[in-house]
């Protein structure tokens, strides 16, 4: 009696095509003799420049070339400029894959400048809030904010934005100016911790006023290390990667995810609507999301993983917020309120 099992079924042409397609979709390295999936094709993508671009070239594009035959070229572009370029070249895109850090993927999709990315295996491990419901964009990294502190000076690690009001921290607090993005997020989180919100910022200003008098207000990221190294500053709101860098420089700085949640900056990728290389873009983003690449990006650059399957090593994990402890802020309200908040900050806080 013939066994009607999977193995005994005759292999039809249709089946062969389906399984070959499946193999290609999962980005398996081409078997000996097999033609690479994207042989002879090329993808152009934007990048954030600097060390991250080098790392991504090595770990993402070179790997994609080896596996699929597609060559990748990165061109450094700030998100706002990249978005302008995307709009200008909407009809005939020179760039296939756009990387954004300022949330531009949302207006880009709304303006019809993006297309649905072919599904790729690692996309499934990205939380639903960090990818587009229609599959037009997917996040591949995070800058996670929170509370930075000197573990050698602070006995009890801070857990909440309300801890900035503990008397032992008076005179040892620093926070960024409101024109620094993290400064704006701190104001919003203080407002939230005191019953306010993005659209009711008053409680945030009231709270900030209570600590501003004896706090050090700084403007640039370059000052974070100087402030902690001075020994006077024990606690400040900033991003976890800065704590990791300080620690690497020999200044002990720890990172704490506040119980109110960690504000964050999302790094996303999306394909231009008229690009013919969305399939390669999807493969590139899939490779970004590989746990091995996610870990390397976290360790070398400080961008937290969004693939929940990533297991960060113990020397990196304490400086990143996990994806289930993020606080999503209303960036539209924040951006619209920026001029008014800056005026108020200059008059009431930075006195």
């Amino acid at each position: 009696m013939p066994r009607d099992g999977f193995m005994s079924r005759p292999l039809t042409r249709r089946h062969a095509l389906a399984s070959a397609g499946l193999a290609a979709a999962t980005l398996l390295p081409g078997r000996a003799g097999a033609q690479p999936r994207f042989a002879g094709r090329e993808i152009v993508a934007t990048a954030f420049g600097g060390p991250s671009q080098d790392l991504i070239q090595r770990m993402v594009y070179d790997a994609v070339t080896r596996e699929t035959g597609a060559r990748g070229t990165q061109t450094p572009l700030l998100s706002a400029n990249a978005f302008a370029r995307m709009r200008a070249e909407a009809q005939a895109p020179q760039i296939d894959l756009f990387m954004f850090s300022g949330g531009q993927q949302v207006p880009a999709k709304a303006a019809g400048l993006t297309q649905k990315l072919p599904e790729a295996p690692n996309f499934a491990n990205v939380p639903a809030t960090l990818k587009d419901a229609d599959g037009h964009w997917v996040a591949w990294g995070l800058v996670t904010e929170g509370i930075l502190y000197r573990p050698d000076k602070v006995a009890t690690p801070p857990r909440s934005y309300k801890d900035f009001f503990k008397p032992e921290f008076a005179g040892h607090i620093a926070f960024p100016h409101i024109t620094n993005g993290y400064g704006t997020d701190f104001l919003v989180m203080l407002a939230r911790a005191h019953g306010g919100s993005e659209s009711n910022i008053g409680p945030g200003f009231e709270a900030l006023k209570r600590i501003a008098g004896r706090a050090n207000i700084f403007r640039s990221a370059a000052e974070v290390q100087t402030l902690f190294a001075s020994g006077d500053i024990w606690i400040m709101p900033y991003d976890g990667a800065s704590a990791m860098r300080s620690t690497a420089m020999g200044i002990p700085v720890a990172y704490s995810v506040p119980e109110e949640g960690a504000p964050f900056v999302l790094l996303t990728g999306c394909a231009a609507r008229r690009s013919r290389n969305a399939d390669i873009a999807s493969a590139v983003l899939n490779r970004h999301l590989d746990p091995e690449v996610q870990t390397a990006i976290a360790r070398e650059i400080g961008w937290a993983p969004v693939n929940t399957a990533t297991q960060l090593p113990p020397d990196v994990a304490p400086f990143m917020a996990p994806t289930d402890r993020l606080a999503t802020l209303d960036r539209d309200v924040i951006n619209a309120s920026r001029p008014a908040w800056t005026e108020r900050f200059n008059r009431e806080i930075a006195r």
Binding site: G171, R214, F218, R219, T226, S230, D232, R338, R347, I349
Partner: protein, 272 residues
């Protein structure tokens, strides 16, 4: 062609390249900036009708005056000594005084920040003197900005004064003393008067550089430093309110130009 007309033509020819560059790269953009400041909602009345912004303007002018005074008081004796030093080391010493200019403003400001923090040497010295509260720090204070800015602008004052003092004929001092003036009186009546061109030039340079300084006030003064250049930066790059930024720049230019002209006239009248 008469000699005088030819001289005039030569002078015009010599001035033409500089005038052209000045008109093209300074006057024309300034005019464009002024036009931009008139766009959108009223900008000048917003600035001039707001106590906060007037305070920013006052801060910048006060900073210019303080830095000018400090560099003049510290720089004049040094320039005088260097100009009169009869040693072959004088050139090297002058070179040494310009060292602060060789270091980038950002690097120099970071060094000051380390000294100005609460536990930094400069702040500690003040705390030890008992003149300030025990948790006082120079960082983020007006005094801190004056100190850091005076350090970098001092060489400009010294080099300007040096050149002028060096050109003063010492025989004029000797003649004054020969006629019964004490050395101090001779210094006051002869040398200082003859050096006033240098004082004017040095002061104007230091003043204009101080009121428009950005890096040092922003880094040493931190967020509490409300100065004109920092405000222009904020309006231009952070808030993208270019018409308002252009208006602030125009106001700064007009005010500092009038201060400079008044000062020059005062010093010039004194001389007569």
């Amino acid at each position: 062609m008469p000699a005088s007309a030819r001289r005039g033509l030569i002078a015009a020819g010599l001035l033409a390249p500089a005038a052209l560059v000045f008109a093209l790269l300074f006057l024309w953009p300034q005019f464009g900036l002024f036009l931009q400041s008139l766009e959108g909602p009223p900008t000048y009345s917003r600035f001039l009708g707001d106590g906060y912004y007037l305070g920013v303007l006052g801060n910048s002018l006060l900073l210019g005056v303080c830095v000018t005074l400090v560099t003049l008081v510290l720089g004049f004796p040094l320039a005088f000594l260097l100009a009169r030093a009869e040693t072959r080391w004088a050139g090297l010493l002058l070179l040494l005084t310009t060292f602060p200019l060789w270091v980038s403003a950002v690097v120099r400001s970071f060094a000051w920040m380390v000294l100005f923090f609460r536990s930094g040497v400069a702040s500690r010295l003040l705390q030890g003197s008992g003149l300030v509260p025990p948790d006082f720090q120079l960082i983020g204070t007006f005094a801190g900005v004056v100190i850091a800015l005076a350090q970098v602008l001092l060489p400009i004052m010294i080099v300007t004064l040096y050149a002028v003092i060096r050109g003063i004929d010492r025989d004029l001092e000797h003649a004054a003393m020969n006629l019964g003036a004490s050395p101090a009186v001779a210094l006051w009546l002869v040398t200082l008067r003859l050096a006033r061109g240098g004082v004017l030039a040095g002061s104007l340079l230091v003043f204009s550089l101080s009121v428009s300084a950005f890096a040092t006030p922003s880094m040493i003064g931190g967020a509490r430093a409300h100065f004109m250049a920092v405000t222009i930066y904020e309006q231009t790059l952070e808030l993208l309110d270019w018409p308002f930024a252009a208006a602030i720049a125009a106001i700064l230019l007009v005010i500092s130009l009038s201060v400079a002209l008044t000062y020059g006239r005062l010093l010039g009248e004194r001389a007569r």
